[in-house]
Every structure is written in structure tokens, then in C-alpha cells.
């Protein structure tokens, strides 16, 4: 079977590996690179649990081939905090910290995808309304239906990210 060489950067580290053309990016991340923080929730491209950043944009890694990542810069939930330069006592990105503080998760399965989508949402719109956040999370499903606190978490993180942009350490961490 055909194998194709893939070179890309994942969470800041250069990666060189082989993949079959039909290997999805999410399976490449999970099975080849053992980055299991990115989840598969549906297999039908609808749930958003598999969202990662591809060249800064939030995408469903279940709807892209690994071989399409050639030359790309990918960030997964594992690399989010370091990539943003958001450091501190907790070592969490402000979005991760806000999900924890606001209890923006129940079972936690959708959380990595929610956070990756939410980070791009706030990057695109630093001061979102509640309606903006709900619209921006349309591609992410929480089967616990825990949306209320997820929205609160994103609004909290947005405020935090406005006052302490990536790369600066905020006063209280």
C-alpha cells in the first residue's frame, strides 16, 4: 500500500513520518504521534472533538488527511499553553484555566476541541458577546449539554486574554 512521507511541525517540534493517504490527520496525531489529547467523538465530521490548529486556524482533524499536513504548523491541546507563551504557576493557557475555573466541562470529552475552537474564536474576535461565543462554537458538540459554563469560560478567558495578551504573564498567576 502507498506510503507518503509527511514533514510538518507539531507543537513546535519537527515531525517526519510515513502515512497512508487514507490516514486521517486525527489518527496520525493519536496513533503515530501518540498525542491522544485530540479526541474522536463522532466519525461523521460533526462533533468538533478533534479540532486542532493548522497554521493558526481551527480545523477538524478528522476531515483532513495526514498527508495534507505536509509543511504545516499544527498545534494540539498538548501544545497550546507553550505555543501561546501563556505560562504561570498552572502552566495552562488562559482558555484552559478559564474552563477549569468556570467548570466548563462535565465528562471532558469535548473539552480539547472546545478549547481549540474557542482560542481561535477569541483571536478573531477579542471581545465577543455571549451570542458571538455561541455562534462561534456551533461546530463543537457537548453531549453533556454543558454549554452554559463553556460559554462562561470562553467569555472569562476572552477578558483575561485582552488584559494579558499571549506572551505576557498576568499578575495573579
Amino acid at each position: 500500500m502507498m506510503q507518503i512521507h509527511v514533514s510538518c511541525v507539531v507543537n513546535g517540534a519537527p515531525i517526519a513520518a510515513e502515512a497512508e493517504p487514507r490516514t486521517l490527520l486525527v489518527d496520525f496525531l493519536r496513533n503515530t504521534l501518540r498525542l491522544t489529547g485530540t479526541h474522536v467523538g463522532c466519525d461523521t465530521s460533526q462533533c468538533g472533538a478533534c479540532v486542532v490548529h493548522l497554521n493558526g486556524r481551527a480545523i477538524k482533524s478528522c476531515s483532513m488527511l495526514a498527508v495534507q499536513a505536509e509543511g504545516a504548523d499544527i498545534t494540539t491541546i498538548e501544545g497550546l499553553a507553550a505555543k501561546s507563551g501563556a505560562v504561570g504557576r498552572t502552566g495552562l493557557h488562559p482558555m484552559q484555566a478559564a474552563f477549569r475555573a468556570q467548570h466548563g466541562l462535565q465528562c471532558g470529552f469535548c473539552t480539547p476541541g472546545m478549547i481549540m475552537t474557542a482560542v481561535e474564536l477569541v483571536t478573531r474576535n477579542p471581545n465577543p458577546s455571549e451570542a458571538d461565543v455561541r455562534a462561534g462554537l456551533e461546530g463543537n458538540l457537548c453531549r453533556c449539554t454543558g454549554y452554559h459554563n463553556i460559554v462562561k469560560a470562553v467569555l472569562t478567558a476572552a477578558a483575561e486574554m485582552r488584559s494579558a495578551p499571549a506572551g505576557t504573564e498576568s499578575a495573579h498567576v
Binding site: 487514507r22 477538524k60 476531515s63 488527511l65 498527508v67
Partner: protein
């Protein structure tokens, strides 16, 4: 997924050389890959178009907006030129799928797929756009040939879509809350060549409504469409809505779209 071969040619010539009867062009992959994952589609080879930078981007040329086939929806949604000249088109692009889909899905992929519930076909027909391929220019009115069918010949590749700038336009859809596809979507446009009303989601392919266009030509206002009804014959009838329901929605959504278009900016 079934096995397949993959190529990512670096220029248009190599793309056209790679294509054969059992291959498919891979644009954003937002329909093709999910259907292949579910084994609803099978291709022996995918030809990835992502290396063709000349197929991506928005250009203003001679009073028209040209959108490269590989331009993702988010770039149309955000384009300052599109927002200034055809805000209804930027709004349409910003309502497709969800943000994750808009980051990958492309205009060329969408119209080549000719999904009867997709949004872009309403813009192509409703704005009188021209679909430009490696071989020819296809008027929007001759491009869609039924459910998942187009005028494209095997191996023919869309390079860009050229939109004339209308005086005003608006697109509105009554969307399926799960898929965000249009149960009914209507583009209304006061174009240089007259009124255009294009409906997606309601039938096997996008279509114009002459009676609505004539009424709007007399008066561009929601009340001009009051009492006008599209016959339900041949409209889609499925779990999302009956043909009669869709026929009724076309009038409602068209009136709201006119109201939206009538508001400046």
C-alpha cells in the same frame, strides 16, 4: 476509508495531467472526505489542489469580484473587498456550516459538488456569476445540472468564480439546525441586468423565481411579494420539511431577504 492514491501537483499543468476517470479533485474536503470516510464514495486517486496558490484569493477586476476556486469560506467572509462591494456574499459565506468548516471548505469545492442545499449555488445563480474553468467560462445559469450534477466535463477544473457587483443583494436561509444546510435559502439581488431571486435547498437544484423577480422589479420591498406563492410541485419533500412547507418558506425567506437587502450597509 477505502484505499486510494494521493497526489499534490505543484502547478495546473501537472494537475490536469494527473486526472483520470476514477480520480477526484480534493479542494477543502469538507464533503468529499466525510463521504469517503463513511464509504459512501470511493475514488482510486485524490488530486489535492492545495499547492495551487493561484487558485486562492479574492481579486477585484473590472467591476467584478473574482474568487479563486480554492478560497476558503472564511476568506470570503472576511474579505474587505467582498464586504464593501457585495456584503450579501460575505454574509452568505459567513453562514456556511460552522467556523471549522469555513476554515477549510472552498467555493470551488462547494459549487462543483452542487449539493441542492448548499448556499453558494444561490449566490452563483442569484448574482449572475460566471464560473471560469481551465477550458471555458460557464454562465451561472448553465452551471448547475441537477442534484450533485454540474456542466463540468470529466477532468475540467474550476479556477475561479466571477461575481458582477449588484446594486444591492441579500441572502438568507432557514437552516437545518444540525447541519446548517439550507432547508430554504434565498438570494435576492438588484443586479445590473435586473432583479434576480435564486432559491437553494428547496428543489433538486438552485432555481430562479420569475414571478418574484417581476414583482420586485416594480417595487423592491417585502410587500411586493405578499401573496405570491411558488408551486410546491417538484420541491424537496423529506424529513426536514414537506414540499408545501418549503413552498411557503420560499415566500417568507424571500420577503425577509428583500427587507435585509433594502437596509443600506
Amino acid at each position: 476509508m477505502y484505499e486510494f492514491d494521493y497526489e499534490r501537483p505543484q502547478d495546473l499543468g501537472a494537475v490536469l495531467k494527473a486526472v483520470d476517470a476514477d480520480s477526484a479533485f480534493l479542494a477543502g474536503g469538507m464533503t468529499l472526505l466525510p463521504t469517503m470516510k463513511m464509504r459512501l464514495a470511493r475514488r482510486s486517486r485524490l488530486i489535492d489542489l492545495s499547492a495551487l496558490r493561484e487558485l486562492r484569493g479574492v481579486r477585484v477586476a473590472a467591476g467584478k469580484i473574482e474568487i479563486g476556486a480554492m478560497t476558503p469560506h472564511v476568506e470570503v467572509q472576511d474579505s474587505p473587498e467582498v464586504r464593501r462591494l457585495i456584503p450579501g456574499l460575505a454574509r452568505l459565506a459567513g453562514g456556511i456550516g460552522d467556523p471549522l468548516v469555513r476554515n477549510r471548505g472552498t467555493i470551488g469545492g462547494s459549487i462543483a459538488n452542487s449539493d441542492p442545499a448548499a448556499c453558494y449555488p444561490a449566490a452563483v445563480l442569484g448574482l449572475g456569476a460566471t464560473v471560469v474553468t481551465n477550458l471555458r467560462e460557464i454562465p451561472g445559469g448553465q452551471f448547475f445540472k441537477g442534484m450533485f450534477a454540474t456542466a463540468l466535463a470529466p477532468g475540467e477544473l474550476i479556477t475561479h468564480v466571477s461575481f458582477p457587483v449588484p446594486r444591492r443583494c441579500a441572502y438568507l436561509k432557514f437552516r437545518n439546525p444540525a447541519s446548517r444546510y439550507a432547508v430554504v435559502g434565498v438570494m435576492v439581488a438588484e443586479a445590473a441586468d435586473g432583479m434576480r431571486v435564486a432559491v437553494t435547498g428547496a428543489g433538486p437544484q438552485v432555481f430562479r423565481v420569475a414571478a418574484f423577480e417581476q414583482a420586485l422589479a416594480k417595487k423592491f420591498a417585502p410587500e411586493a411579494l405578499q401573496g405570491l406563492q411558488v408551486p410546491s410541485d417538484g420541491l424537496n419533500d423529506d424529513m426536514h420539511g414537506s414540499a408545501d412547507y418549503r413552498a411557503s418558506l420560499i415566500g417568507v425567506i424571500a420577503r425577509r431577504a428583500v427587507a435585509l437587502a433594502a437596509v443600506p450597509g
